[in-house]
Subunit: 273 residues, 3 copies
């Protein structure tokens, strides 16, 4: 299934508007180019409507947010909804500060997101803030493991159904749900956590997958997760003595650049729950 | 001809002030160091006059502009003109949004730019906004090709003469004109378009070439274009199985770092029209 | 001595809050991950108190400062002092503009910095601004060399004693002093100066060393300086034909990622004055 989603990205070459943090922005741009999309960045309220209007999708990432860029996030999100563009939220650091939590929750209230992608801790923060309690309790760990997988699947399904967005929780095990089904992805390498911004990169790339595959948001998000994880596995195989996280970062982007739909189809490891 | 311009950069090591987008800024800094210049970045109005005053050239790039940095662009540009420093404009996204188009046109009205460097679409937007119509019509394609080369050369000469700046249009074929002659450069690789910011990098490096070669702005700009394109060719020859756009990005900067004036002289492919 | 400080970073994995320039921020993040710490970036006044409160250390770097981020620097610094977190100042460009000089001096007046790390020129600017004149005169060169080492050691000891911070001056020869003793470090390679941001990277990493080794700030700062310099030496040994500053940048981060306490202990070259 997943290979065809990558093929659509390569064929349609969607232009993605990113309002994203300045830490990982260059990698987000190069990953978008690697997968077959095109990036454009703009975070100035006076610029945002024109830019988002010529794009096919919008990626909002709240890392290094500030009062000016928050205003841009609302304006771009509302315009993209109006234009029926694919819109993704990456709630970086939700739960770590009141401003980030409030911004993520405020955006979710005003804007329809096709996908919200974060780690388990960020998504739990949003679910609690949105009043979801099903599956969220003090005992739920901050990592999805084989042991708590059933509980985590129930949680992600519940929050997806309640929020109306596809929810993607990424980590050692990745979960993607539209509220009815849940894809469980087993691609990836633990060393990816030693590179800054693999999550941000995935959010940028995923927006391109959403824009190119509007008829199956949940499948497209899953295909993007598999692409990133498989690229991490392929890149790891290229690592040589003396290589570390900087080289690994480059090799992951390279692996996305060289990935064919056939490679993705063959290498993707996912199940449906 | 072009080798001596690189030699001057290496000898004079110009310090270049960059007001540039946060997407590609790290690569701009490393390319400036690779070619023999030095970078400094500052975009705060209260900081800009002091910083630009100690530099040898100014590179204004309007990608990810905002109201604060636009103010800085005007102030730094006017100060640099007063000090007779080399000043370059990279009108990223002119034509894509009203703010970007207006900012580029406003800057051109207030500030003398030694060089304006952009792609054909951005330069056409500026030419039309400045009232140039010669050679610009609805039929003119958004890429310079062997087929429309004569028309494109006429256009770039016309806009250079009208604007009083050297105009550099980069793409598969690059054109650099001062209004009288036009250099046509054939260096480069199509894969360079799959890396974010090769244009931004070229603008930063070109400003160092201008600062180090003030007596021949058009020749210096051409030498910078040849350097970037030749580096793209050399880097491509180093690509191995599994390498992609992230590694290619690094190899292009590496190739600039290792390029000698002799290599540039031998590898540059340009003609005069 | 120095190996154990790296071991503590790996064991404690300190979370470091960085208010740093957008030029080199991605490298700062990857270096922090390479050494065993974790990075978080936030420069918005409304976000800063929450973020710095969950961290173990704060790295303030004044490159690309603006009026909004300056406000954040003060707020985060004061909060970190209150919480007794490790706090480092990297006064990028002090002496190059009035805003940068005033900001660095203003921060030093209000906030206690465990370490101030800069090049000789920046540190001289601060010392003069703080009224230190001992060892600072018009004849003192802008580089620490074997010839002026005695004078430079006297200067750094004097400013450290007067300021109450450990002072780290980095360059071809590095000096780290708490006012009583001075470590003189001879690791490193001159080619590191051809990469943008090795100083910024060191400041980020050093903050992790300080946070993980609160009982010996001067030793921890020295260990970080040795780690960076040794990584530059190891990375240089991996350089192959055609490699330049972009690849060297990645290899340095890789070398930090792969460095063991034993390698650091063996490779560190320092003496006490």
């Amino acid at each position: 299934m997943v290979g065809k989603y990558l093929e659509q990205v390569r064929t349609k070459a969607p232009l993605i508007h990113n309002i994203t943090n300045y830490v990982t922005v260059n990698d987000v741009a190069n990953v978008l180019l690697a997968c077959g999309g095109s990036p454009i960045m703009s975070d100035e309220p006076a610029d945002i409507i024109d830019i988002t209007s010529i794009c096919n999708g919008l990626n909002i990432n709240i890392g290094t947010l500030n009062v000016r860029t928050i205003e841009a996030m609302y304006a771009a999100g509302e315009k993209s909804n109006e234009l029926n563009h694919a819109v993704l939220l990456d709630p970086v650091g939700a739960g770590a500060s009141k401003l980030r939590t409030d911004t993520a929750l405020g955006l979710i209230e005003k804007i329809h997101f096709d996908v919200i992608r974060g780690n388990i801790s960020e998504i739990k923060t949003l679910a609690l803030g949105n009043g979801t309690t099903k599956g969220v309790d003090a005992d739920m760990a901050d990592a999805v493991t084989d042991e708590n997988l059933d509980q985590a699947v129930a949680f992600v399904k519940g929050y997806a159904a309640q929020s109306g967005s596809v929810i993607a929780i990424t980590g050692a095990i990745d979960l993607i749900s539209d509220g009815k089904i849940c894809y469980v992805v087993h691609n990836g390498r633990p060393e990816m956590g030693r590179i800054t911004g693999t999550g941000c990169q995935l959010s940028g790339m995923m927006t391109a997958f959403l824009a190119a595959n509007p008829d199956d948001i949940c499948g497209a998000a899953t295909a993007a997760v598999c692409t990133m994880g498989l690229a991490g596995e392929i890149a790891y195989d290229y690592m040589q003595q003396g290589d570390g996280n900087a080289t690994y970062r480059n090799r992951i982007i390279d692996a996305i650049y060289n990935m064919t739909p056939e490679m993705l189809e063959k290498g993707a490891k996912y199940e449906v729950r």
